[in-house]
């Protein structure tokens, strides 16, 4: 057991737990932020993607100890009212089907656009190819990223 302190969506949070607990479960089960999704548990699918100091990480394989002292942004903290340009683009293109993976898709897209405000197809593929969607919403994800880039 150890004490971890980090900033989550602009709020300072502390948690006493074992350092190998993945950030995903700390967020979901201890910090009441279930918008970050569990799906593969192995860092394969990207449904659990969050920002750790502006970098997209797989929270299901990121030990809490790696987040200690860092800034974590989850889907709940992306914007106060759901109007971040990536969220707006997602709605404009009506991307989601079941929607379960979409928080991870959106966080991965946010990280991409922070690094590359006008990504070409290769850059979109590189950033998004490892974020899986069983419903197959990829075509609209691609369109939404292009739209967010244009409107950014």
């Amino acid at each position: 057991m150890a004490r971890f302190e980090f900033e989550v969506n602009g709020e300072r949070r502390t948690l006493d737990t074992s350092g190998d607990m993945p950030l995903l479960w700390a967020l979901r089960d201890h910090l009441d932020l279930p918008g970050t999704r569990f799906s593969c548990g192995q860092g394969i699918c990207g449904s659990c993607t969050v920002l750790l100091d502006d970098t997209a990480v797989r929270s299901c394989v990121t030990p809490l100890s790696d987040a200690d002292g860092s800034r974590v942004t989850t889907i709940e903290g992306l914007s106060p009212d759901g109007t971040h340009r990536v969220q707006s683009a997602w709605l404009a293109e009506q991307v989601p089907q079941c929607g379960y993976c979409q928080p991870g898709q959106i966080m991965a897209a946010v990280a991409l656009l922070q690094q590359d405000p006008d990504p070409d197809d290769d850059a979109i593929h590189a950033a998004m190819d490892d974020v899986l969607c069983r419903c197959g919403t990829y075509e609209r994800i691609h369109r939404a990223i292009r739209r967010a880039a244009k409107e950014g």
């Binding site: 057991m1 737990t17 074992s18 607990m21 995903l24 479960w25 979901r28 089960d29 201890h30 009441d32 932020l33 279930p34 918008g35 970050t36 999704r37 569990f38 799906s39 593969c40 548990g41 192995q42 394969i44 699918c45 449904s47 989850t74 889907i75 709940e76 992306l78 914007s79 759901g82 969220q87 997602w90 709605l91 009506q94 991307v95 989601p96 089907q97 079941c98 929607g99 379960y100 993976c101 979409q102 928080p103 959106i106 197809d121 979109i124 593929h125 998004m128 190819d129 974020v131 899986l132 969607c133 069983r134 419903c135 197959g136 919403t137 990829y138 075509e139 609209r140 994800i141 691609h142």
Partner: protein
């Protein structure tokens, strides 16, 4: 509460045709909606689907599950259309599992097909009563009033009444009979046919949407289960719980019995913990000496050997037209081919889970199910309860595809809850989800076909060997199109439990039939599109055949349209190929042309052109999104997915060895909807059957190589 009824609810529903008419079979509604339905006082609720309060707030109950197909948007659109309100003014409530809502099994692409009549009737009945209330208040004739945007307007004066002001009066009126209620003229539709945004969109993109995994109850514990890796295996009476108990956060470890009846729930060891992580780690840490049972040596390799051995024996003849053996003997050319299709997992992104609170004589369940009434009945039976003691809340569903039609996870959760005080959430790891699925069956198909001197197919002998029963509908393609046809079937029972998988048998037979048709066309020197158009126009399946009745003109028109829209006749570069597939299923007619090219020996799917006639369309964008996603789902299966078994164990466990398509691999999908006024057909499963053979046929055109073992590019 305002006294809102002078007749019983059952009578209302009989009068409105919901209990007996249309497609709603087996609707058995409560005699009344009582206060336990949590309807506020002073509320006008003429039926189980809609209520309006005195502030004009409109609540619509969605009785079917949304797993991404947009049911929670499409269903309220139908009711709101007839009620003459805007969709923005409607609050939706997900209905619990209860027979008062009629049929609630979300499968078979049924939601719009089943609910089209009852939801229109429910909205129109409420509208009619509100107009009558206004007429009474204004002392005018109902015929001089009309409803629009949540108000009733009087034609001959400026007077108008908001719905909220009419509620108390409306609630005192008799519910009109069905023939007193006039449905809207479709020409005046303002919502139906519009691409309105998904109601759940804003919650999904902000993370506020709540799936089964996201349910949180005060004092809730988390559970994971180690299950016997071999189907039908049993847990030992004794085991060592200490590897799990040593893990921080684990509170209890105990064995649970499965169900070894037709449903099948695995025996397991449950680990109860203060969070999901501890529970999952605890279950992983256990080393259990399972009694693996009779199937500990089963392998899919053996199964396919069995298929190959049995294919030469006679099967049960499902269809026999003309003289197949004679026609094959007289054919100018004959062909024989064998196709093999694997087991498939559903692999929804949200793993199986269930939250349950069993206290005393009450059981409350929150679950992402496609089938809440069955959950309620089965859990009640397991606990020795009456169904009225069990409440099943349906959450948003993170992908279903047929997996969540089965109540195994809720029954397992009920076993666990019997040992735990207070609420508990049972979560399956991805590996447990994939290894304890109910799989799309495996099959082997041998086809022998013949063409005449003009290249026209004349005979087909098709032997289907399948691990599941009920694999061929005697009216499905290519019945009627071959003058000489024999379809034989051999059931090869096997250890893996079978599940409905998006489009069920239509994920198997159309691939085989439409690929082999191309093989015959190639043997006879006929263009694949030309061959299909000829078969459909010269030997159409009879009009009115089957249930629902088949319309050969609609099928032909869809194929003609896809030829046109895809510019089928255009020249194709070396290394490129195009393929076609078509299907009639779930009351919808569909055809697709798929374009690909081969790059470094691997196919790259460039585009899919889809044409669908699904009757009247509620929301065209929902149809288009189902095609975009359905194509990806079908291509993932046909290109790269399979479930294999060795030593009785499913070998795949995660998205690494059960892969799916990625963004860069996704084709552009263009969907053309042939609008018409036929009854709405299904959509959720419809894109799957034509995509699979279109891929195989396109690959053949590009490479000259006919691939007959699925997955084609594993």
């Amino acid at each position: 509460m305002v006294a809102i009824r002078k007749i019983g609810r059952r009578e209302f529903l009989q009068r409105t045709g919901m209990a007996t008419g249309g497609l709603v079979l087996g609707v058995a509604l409560l005699d009344s909606v009582d206060a336990t339905d949590a309807v506020a006082a002073d509320t006008f609720q003429p039926n189980v689907f809609v209520a309006i309060d005195t502030d004009g707030r409109i609540t619509v109950w969605v009785s079917r599950t949304d797993m991404g197909q947009g049911t929670r948007t499409g269903m309220p659109m139908i009711l709101a259309e007839e009620l003459e309100v805007r969709l923005d003014d409607v609050t939706i409530v997900q209905a619990d599992g209860d027979e008062k809502y009629g049929h609630q099994l979300t499968g078979g692409s049924l939601s719009v097909r089943l609910m089209w009549d009852p939801l229109r009737q429910a909205g129109a009945t409420a509208r009619t009563m509100l107009i009558r209330a206004a007429a009474r208040l204004g002392d005018v004739a109902p015929g001089s009033c009309r409803a629009r945007d949540g108000r009733v307007l009087h034609w001959n004066s400026d007077r108008e009444w908001a719905y909220g002001d009419l509620v108390e009066t409306a609630a005192t009126l008799d519910v009109p009979s069905e023939d007193e209620v006039e449905l809207k003229d479709p020409a005046t539709y303002r919502l139906i046919g519009e691409s309105l945004d998904r109601i759940d969109g804003p919650d999904i993109v902000t993370g506020r949407a709540r799936y089964g995994m996201d349910i949180r109850r005060s004092g809730m514990r988390y559970a994971a289960v180690a299950r016997c890796p071999v189907y039908g295996g049993r847990r030992p009476q004794e085991f060592d719980p200490s590897p799990a108990m040593r893990i921080d956060g684990v509170e209890r470890v105990f064995g649970i019995d499965g169900l070894h009846d037709g449903l099948y729930v695995a025996d397991g060891i449950a680990v109860i913990a203060r969070d999901t992580w501890s529970a999952l780690r605890g279950a992983e840490a256990l080393e259990i000496a399972w009694q693996e049972g009779d199937d500990a040596d089963a392998s899919t390799e053996q199964l396919h050997e069995t298929f190959r051995r049995l294919v030469d024996e006679r099967g049960e003849v499902l269809r026999e037209d003309g003289d197949v053996d004679g026609a094959l003997g007289n054919a100018a050319r004959t062909l024989e081919a064998t196709y093999e299709l694997p087991f498939l997992a559903h692999a929804p992104m949200e793993p199986m889970n269930c939250t349950i609170d069993l206290r005393g004589d009450r059981c409350e369940i929150w679950t992402p199910t496609q089938n809440p009434q069955t959950v309620r009945e089965r859990v009640a039976r397991l606990l020795g309860f009456d169904t009225s003691q069990v409440t099943v809340h349906v959450t948003l569903v993170g992908g279903g595809f047929g997996r969540r039609l089965y109540p195994d996870m809720e029954l397992e959760a009920a076993r666990i809850a019997s040992e735990v005080d207070g609420p508990v959430q049972v979560v399956w790891s991805r590996e447990e989800d994939m290894r304890h699925d109910r799989y799309r069956p495996a099959s082997l198909h041998r086809l022998r076909g013949g063409v005449d001197a003009d290249g026209v197919p004349t005979a087909l002998h098709w032997h289907i060997l399948n691990t599941h029963r009920g694999v061929f509908r005697s009216d499905e393609f290519p019945s009627h199109q071959f003058p000489n046809l024999r379809v034989e079937y051999t059931h090869v029972p096997w250890v893996l439990p079978r599940g409905a998988w998006r489009s069920t048998v239509h994920s198997q037979n159309p691939f085989v039939a439409q690929c082999f048709l191309d093989e015959l066309g190639h043997a006879g020197g006929m263009d694949p599109m030309e061959l299909r158009l000829r078969m459909l126009s010269e030997h159409p399946r009879p009009r009115g055949d089957g249930d629902p009745p088949f319309d050969p003109d609609r099928m032909l028109r869809v194929v003609e349209e896809v030829a046109d829209r895809s510019n089928w006749g255009r020249s194709v570069d070396d290394g490129h190929g195009r393929g076609i597939g078509f299907s009639y299923c779930y009351d919808s007619y569909v055809a697709e042309v798929l374009d690909l090219h081969v790059e470094d020996g691997r196919p790259k799917i460039d585009a899919v052109t889809a044409v669908v006639d699904c009757g009247r369309v509620i929301n065209p964008d929902l149809v288009r999104s189902q095609f975009e996603g359905g194509v990806v789902f079908a291509l993932s299966a046909t290109m790269m997915q399979e479930i294999t078994v060795e030593k009785g164990r499913v070998q795949q466990g995660n998205f690494g060895d059960f892969p799916m398509m990625r963004l860069s691999e996704t084709p552009t999908v263009t969907t053309h909807i042939l609008e018409n006024e036929n009854r709405p057909g299904g959509i959720g499963e419809v894109p799957i059957p034509p995509t699979m053979p279109a891929l195989g046929n396109a690959h053949f055109m590009a490479t000259g190589e006919r691939l007959r073992r699925v997955p084609l590019f594993a």
